[in-house]
Subunit: 429 residues, 2 copies
Amino acid sequence: MAATARPRIVVLGAGFAGLRAIRILSRGGQRVLWVDGRNYHTFLPLLYQVATAGLEPQAIAYPTRSFLRRRPGVDFRLARIVGGDAGARTLLTGDGEQIAYEYLLVATGGAAADFGIPGVRAHAFNLYDVEDARALRNHALELLERAAVTPDSPARRALLTFVIVGGGPTGVETAGALAEFRRHVVPSDYPSIPPEQLRIVLVEARDAVLGTFASSLQLRARRDLEHFGIEIRLGASVARVGPEGVDLAGGEHLAAGTVVWAAGIRAADVAGRLGLPTGRSGRIRVASTLEVVDHPGVFAAGDVALVEGAEGLPQVAQVAIQGGSHAAENILRAIAGRPLESFRYRDKGAMATIGRSRAIAEIGRLRLSGPLAWWAWLLLHLVMLIGFRNRLVVLIDWAWNYVTYDRGLRAIIGPDRAAGENYASWETR
Amino acid sequence: MAATARPRIVVLGAGFAGLRAIRILSRGGQRVLWVDGRNYHTFLPLLYQVATAGLEPQAIAYPTRSFLRRRPGVDFRLARIVGGDAGARTLLTGDGEQIAYEYLLVATGGAAADFGIPGVRAHAFNLYDVEDARALRNHALELLERAAVTPDSPARRALLTFVIVGGGPTGVETAGALAEFRRHVVPSDYPSIPPEQLRIVLVEARDAVLGTFASSLQLRARRDLEHFGIEIRLGASVARVGPEGVDLAGGEHLAAGTVVWAAGIRAADVAGRLGLPTGRSGRIRVASTLEVVDHPGVFAAGDVALVEGAEGLPQVAQVAIQGGSHAAENILRAIAGRPLESFRYRDKGAMATIGRSRAIAEIGRLRLSGPLAWWAWLLLHLVMLIGFRNRLVVLIDWAWNYVTYDRGLRAIIGPDRAAGENYASWETR
């Protein structure tokens, strides 16, 4: 396939920024090509629930082509981008297809940053896509099975230790969900494992968890985490991750069968392949209009963009949603010959959940915690999900989990056959 | 781990036969160890719906440990069996654990039989477990994406051709579900693909599809399949499967991007590793009591068993369910010193679905087809599913598919990270 596609506008990425941009561009009557390496949008805020057997992967994955059913001007391409010439306004896909465009929006998002710490890539689990979440779930469930037949020993305690690095929302929410699994699933399903032997350690380099929230909420979250039996290590840096656990900077070793890395974010690799100017963490440098510096007609939004004069904007869903909208509107302005407008982020607040009936929320000056914040968190995430079917499935799974205290999705469904021999099989193919 | 477990009874397999046996043995007050290479029971009759994006894998997978919650006498072991000494009454797991037993029930089920036809193992998709189904779904969705960017040509037609080998229920149901996908999903999701270019060919070596049913129902099923636009090749044997399609015995080549092998069943490999007498297709030879010939205390049931004097029993769920029950009851009889009883299969009838409002059913002398048979099929399969949560999820997915004509689960969720680079990703890890 050496064909050349010639859409007027190309949007790279089906995350929050790309999805929102497509919604706006599809109304503009332009020929738009939407490209992603996956054929679905992933609702990242609920990824930790897939990892902890609360939701199935498909519940947070929304097929891009379903989104385009009533948007005939937009075509979709399942492709990886392997190169690009921003001067010539072309992209090259992994299948060898050339794509020539007039306007480009790069919304390829982020990936886990390891800050060069040895062993993170090889031994820690990320939570950045559905495959990550499945891998973590399958790994944890297999370790529980192994622990169930291992006599009590330091080796068994290590199998049952989960170290979560990073005290932001992802780390806190994962730790909290594991604590619920320990409390409600382990006693009934693994009678040979005393639940208190399942150890959950949350490691954070700074002196607080959820450090972007007001300090009263940070303290509340910390108390809630401790209430759920999660060990919190503040001011603790990771020096190395190995197959047997984590070495902290002070020299302490945490023996752990599972290390989850939720400590940082960088731009996804693709940003570097496009020939665009990049800054901190590989992010693409854009002006306040979200147009890439020195590249008129090329825009970037979401986690991949570093906005001049607003470098401190957090890499969260709200910034991506608003940035994707704004970049799309500026592309339509440019096509219409109107002046571009500067992006103003409207902070709608932030929330994090710790576990059943425990969450924190900060909306302007309003600070919520406890059951009210938790119900607000549930409602907001249901509303934000894309697609009625996904909302329905998540609602039912949540209602199920709430009423039964169960996490029903505990089948270890391994890699596809083509990927080679499967651990959990009678056969040795 | 070189420990030795000493349960009184071991049940190998969490399929229909094993599950039913555990239900009965758990009431007998014995120490039972249940072993499977997976941590879940798979509801195989709905596997084709996972393959065709109608159900998510977890909907038909029921965790074994959930089943054991109210059965404290039964312990579960996630393990593969790599060897056994039926004389010494021991088993060896892949983790090196010895298991010594007094009574053994082998219910390890079946696997796809290729009859030695070249290329089947390497190039055809099976439908024998959830990983098979996911692999087939992902493959088919990726070919649709490739076809969407390939100009009309023989190559594109081949990408869009599905050959299903085997005219039994699995083959027929898979073909029917693909036809629904073609009719209701392709036009809206792949506007560049004319639906009629998606070709579905059902190949059967004998002169009828669903050959175990009454001939009037066979004809009805054939008409229904043709109504859905499925090409049926009767009396056609496969000589070879290659990466580009299927060679039929007569010399004809069917160029096809996807070949599904639903043509036969043999015993799973594990049967041969136990040192027990085997017969046709590697199945374990058992007497009418389901006790293995010359091995008192060792029983086999379900697809893996070949019953003396009843060699013609079909390898279907009903035989496995009744056989698993019967073998478990005979084990309890043997423990109580009572004489074993012979297995009598009660034929409760058979059903197969072709597509929306089209199914056939044969229950004694009663023959049903059309909408009534279809609704009966839906109801029966809902009732047979294990676990309230699974029933609820399947009911909702079916209601969703029925009302919207959609198949919502079209995200290509690939292998876990650990399995290597993922096609559908921005990253090249």
